[in-house]
Structure formats: C-alpha cells, structure tokens
C-alpha cells in the first residue's frame, strides 16, 4: 500500500496543475474517509464527494408525498431502512410511523410480494429509491407482482440514473472536475460504456473503482496517470466485478419496467432523463394512477448547503449547521441522515480536507 501511495505522489509531481477527482458514489465517500485516503493525497490532488447516495438525492417533495399517503390507515408504506429518518419539509417517515402503525421496512424488494399477500385488504405502497444497482431487483419484483396478478400494489417511482447526473455535473461551469471515480456496483449492472460519452464529449477521465482501500488508491493512480499523459478515456479498475457491457439480463429487466424521465435531485435541481417512470404495462402501479396527490412544493432549510455539497462545490465544514445543529441523531439535511452521506462521513471520521 505504501508503494502505491508513493507512486501516486511521484505521478502527481509530474502533473503541472492541481486536479480534482469526484467520487460519485456514497460508498466510495465512506471508504475514502474510513481508510483516511483523503489524507494520503498530494497537495495537488483533491478528492471531492459527489451526489452518490440515492437517499440523499430523493427530493423533499417525494418524502412529503410518502408521508401524505401514510395518513390513510388503509395504506401501508414500504421503504428501505435508509429512508426512514430522512427529513421531509415538516416531519419524517419515522416520526409518522406510530400514528397509524402502517410502515414496513424491507431489506430486499422481493419481501414486498409477501407483504401484499399478507395484507390483501390494504394498499401496499413501495417507495422506489435507488440507482442502477438496486433498480433491476425492484423491476424484477414489479414484474412478478404483475405475473401473480396482485391488485393491491403501488409505487412512488423515485429511482435515479447515474450517467445523466454526471453529465449535469460536468455541464456546471462553477465546477471544474478533471475526473470521476465511477461507482463500482452501479457499473456491475450498466458496465463502462454509459460513461464513455463523458470522456469523449466532455474530456473527463472516468475510472470505475472497487471499494477496498487498494482499489481506490489504484483507481486514483490510473486517473492521474491518464491525466498526465493527456489520455482522456473511461477505464475499469474493478475488473473482478465489472464488465464493459455490465449485466445484460439485469439491464433488460430494469428497462422493461422503467423508462427515464426528467427528475429533481434534492438540492441539485431538475436533471433531464435522470429519474425512473413506470413504462406502459406497469403504469397501473404508479400511485398517481390510484391516489389523489396534493401538489407539494420543494422546500428545504435555507441554511442547509446539502445541494452544494452534493455537487462538490462546498464541504460539510463550510456549513453553519454542521455538528452544531445538524448531527446524525438530529439531521437537518439529507447528507447527514444517510449513513453514506458526505456530512455523515465527515462527522463519523472527521477531517477538514
């Protein structure tokens, strides 16, 4: 490990400028902080955390819609555990759960099938949250629900696609990123091809990385070598899990059920083609087809800078609320509430860089 850090320093010395590398994935943010990789970087290599946690980027208005639906005791809301504590505009799913005792937390989307069967007199509403890693499993579950002709299932479709968000980041003129450390497990599904346009059209190096300390260090070394050689392209470091074409079967199931739509990312705003919408044949499961949803305006705490943190423009230590008001026990913004949020990572492992 020492050798690779030395090699990074050596190559960084050969660079004639400062370079900024954004890690897209929240799991990478946690690993970088846990292993202290940011402290090993030479002065001219800066690691920036990006928007990579599906929980963090779910808009407040979607959480408010889920809470709105929980007010009816004939509805059961089903969520992944990470979503429970995320603050909406006034309250959270956790604070509302005891009112009608109608919340179920699942580990796997497949558990929903059993919940629909055991509660046939209730509407089961699944809060679809996740990137391409999670969406195929959700899509497979929705397909089986259709095959089983289950009638009491609905979903709030708030899934997100990563490459369109990366394009939005490179189009932001205030951000000057040289390279992306691309998400390993999203890429297990989508492969490396969907990032190639970012290298070709926007001149950014993209390297798909694994999650161990050595994987990340090796990926950083590949990135700075490519930058030094002005060889801008997309590469896979995480070759033991990622293939160029990804998992074709999982991709096929995902795209059979979900189409893309313009979608709001919390704190970031609307990104074209970055969200999930149910395709024809599965639309009957969309909550909008079954429930009257009151339109909710997107509102967040004005002092919270999660939006800028998700875009890598500011760091948690730049936020007035960080550790003073906003803590993991009492989170204000989404980056603190999710275990993989940038603020939660800084809070747990410390650091000012």
């Amino acid at each position: 490990m020492i050798e690779i850090v030395e090699e990074i320093r050596k190559v960084a010395n050969q660079l004639d400028r400062k370079v900024k590398i954004m890690e897209v994935c929240g799991t990478h943010t946690m690993a970088i902080r846990r292993f202290g990789i940011h402290n090993l970087m030479p002065q001219n290599v800066e690691l920036i955390s990006g928007p990579g946690c599906p929980v963090c980027v779910t808009p407040v208005s979607m959480i408010d819609i889920a809470i709105q639906l929980m007010q009816d005791p004939t509805n059961i809301l089903v969520v992944f555990g990470d979503m429970v504590r995320v603050p909406g505009s006034k309250t959270s799913i956790e604070k509302e759960r005891t009112k009608n005792n109608n919340l179920k937390v699942v580990f796997s989307p497949f558990d929903i099938v059993k919940i629909t069967e055991e509660n046939s007199d209730k509407n089961i509403i699944f809060f679809v949250v996740g990137f391409e890693t999670t969406l195929p499993g959700i899509a497979w579950t929705i397909k089986s629900i259709k095959e089983k002709n289950i009638k009491n299932f609905y979903c709030i479709s708030a899934g997100k696609f990563i490459p369109p968000a990366m394009e939005a980041i490179v189009c932001d003129k205030e951000l000057n990123i040289d390279a992306f450390l691309c998400p390993g497990h999203v890429s297990v599904i989508i492969g490396s091809r969907p990032y190639e346009f970012i290298s070709k059209d926007y001149q950014k190096v993209c390297v798909i990385s694994g999650f161990e300390a050595l994987d990340i260090l090796e990926s950083i070394l590949i990135i700075i070598k490519l930058l030094r050689n002005n060889d801008i392209k997309t590469e896979i470091q995480y070759t033991r899990a990622v293939k160029k074409d990804g998992n074709k079967k999982a991709k096929m199931i995902m795209t059979e059920v979900f189409d893309s739509c313009d979608s709001i990312w919390r704190g970031v705003g609307k990104i074209p083609h970055s969200g999930t919408v149910l395709r024809e044949g599965y639309k009957i499961y969309d909550i909008k087809e079954r429930f009257k949803i009151e339109e909710i305006k997107e509102e967040t705490n004005k002092l919270c800078i999660c939006g800028d943190i998700l875009k890598g423009k500011q760091k948690p230590i730049d936020c007035k609320l960080f550790t003073e008001v906003c803590t993991p026990a009492n989170p204000v913004g989404a980056c603190m509430v999710s275990q993989e949020g940038t603020c939660a990572a800084y809070y747990k492992y410390g650091g000012t860089r």
């Binding site: 994935c25 929240g26 799991t27 990579g52 946690c53 599906p54 929980v55 992944f80 990470d82 580990f107 796997s108 989307p109 497949f110 558990d111 949250v129 996740g130 990137f131 890693t133 999670t134 195929p136 499993g137 497979w140 998400p183 390993g184 497990h185 999203v186 297990v188 599904i189 161990e212 300390a213 050595l214 033991r240 899990a241 998992n247 074709k248 079967k249 999982a250 199931i253 999710s338 993989e340």
Partner: protein, 78 residues
C-alpha cells in the same frame, strides 16, 4: 445504499440460493443472472439479489483481503 457483499453459494432451491457471507447465512434470488450458478460459486449480493457471478480465485482473494483489514481494525479498536 449500493453496498454489495460477496457470498459463497451453499444451496440452491427454486432459483433461490443460500449463501455464506463471512460466517453468516442469507438467501438471495438468482433471477438477475444470465449465467448458471452452482454450489461453491461466489456471487455479489445486493438487496436480496445476486447481481453478478464472480471469478472464484478473485473472490477468495478479496475475502482474504477484507478479513485482513477487519483484523487490523479489530486490533486498533481493542
């Protein structure tokens, strides 16, 4: 949220695999995989689904590396 772990397949019934993950046992569906999986194979698990079949030697090497890191962290915390 995109956390995945490596598991060793111990049993397969109706395309549901029982896998061993660092001594613990869990189940996962194999329906997202195009390739066939047999007992003794290693898969990458995410939210109750196997999302990839891994090369055996690479998987064993990764598990050993993780165990090494975990033991260093245990020593540091004790």
């Amino acid at each position: 949220m995109c956390l995945s772990v490596i598991g060793k397949v111990e049993e397969i019934k109706n395309n549901i695999a029982t896998v061993e993950v660092f001594g613990a046992r869990t189940q996962c569906l194999l329906d997202l995989l195009a390739e066939s999986v047999t007992i003794g194979d290693y898969v990458l698990l995410h939210a109750g689904f196997a999302i990839n079949k891994l090369d055996k030697d690479e998987a064993i090497k990764t598990i050993n590396d993780i165990k090494k890191i975990m033991s260093i962290e245990d020593d540091r915390n004790s």
